[in-house]
Symmetry: C2
Subunit: 165 residues, 2 copies
Amino acid sequence: MARTPAPFDELDYQILLALRENARQPAADIARLTGANERTVRNRIDRMAESGAIRLTSIVDPHAFGYVNTVDIFLEVDPEQEQAAIDNLLNRQEITYLALGQGTKEVSIEGRFKDIAEMREFLGRVLPAVPGVHVTGYALVPRIIRNIDSWLPKADDFAHLDNEN
Amino acid sequence: MARTPAPFDELDYQILLALRENARQPAADIARLTGANERTVRNRIDRMAESGAIRLTSIVDPHAFGYVNTVDIFLEVDPEQEQAAIDNLLNRQEITYLALGQGTKEVSIEGRFKDIAEMREFLGRVLPAVPGVHVTGYALVPRIIRNIDSWLPKADDFAHLDNEN
DNA sequence: GCTGAAAATTATGCATT
DNA sequence: AATGCATAATTTTCAGC
């Protein structure tokens, strides 16, 4: 193992759980909740945020803005135009997810739309007009039940001071 | 249109942008940034959070915890056991995403793992052991470039007081 | 729904261990 | 790295518009 082991402990975990419910929750509250020192809690929050282990952010609910139609789209992208195509796609507000696939030509995206007409327009006109991009398939997504924002590591990824190496 | 139009304006949008970078940024800072009243900024934040339009949360970076292997998995689920199967899957920490597909039997998930062995175990042993679940396919995901946490509505989803209906 | 002012709470900077 | 303390800044409460 060349990677450094997770330098996170039980307190970090509890702070994480608290911030996940409300990122603006005062460190003092979390200190009371956990019994830890208020100053320590703030140090931990700063450390986790600055290291990039967590991101304290605002997630917008697409439904609240009327984006009720979700579709997963599978693309084949000309390798020579891949970077330009991806840059192009990343500029599109409709795209909520973009990932590279195993093959060099595979790219999958997710789009959200206010109505079916917008979605069809995107699939039939917008995407085909992006140089190097071919739509190989798509599938409507009626309901997303879990997404990355609710993900957590295993509890024992937070060291109990006894599982080093 | 039966749904209420987005009751958000330019100020909400700017607040959103600020909170997206740092959910703990003080309302006073945002007030200075936008020229809006400090108290108004807090009211807006509270309103957007309470209405569910935004969620102020902590997103954990799987990479920081060693979860470097991502795989998209397509499942066929026996309709009679669907709810139990989904509940079962939702209890699994490895699953970062779970969505229902168009067909009544289709479910797609994304899993993250620390190594390929864990991933293979999940695909070959864990999933097949869930009653009513059959793996119909999977695809490794080498790199996710955009995810839902960075999504934003269109700028003109924030009313300029002139686009009502 | 927006804003103001005092009181309560919280965060920051610095120093100590 | 954790913590205590003084100071600065912020949030809250209650109010009026």
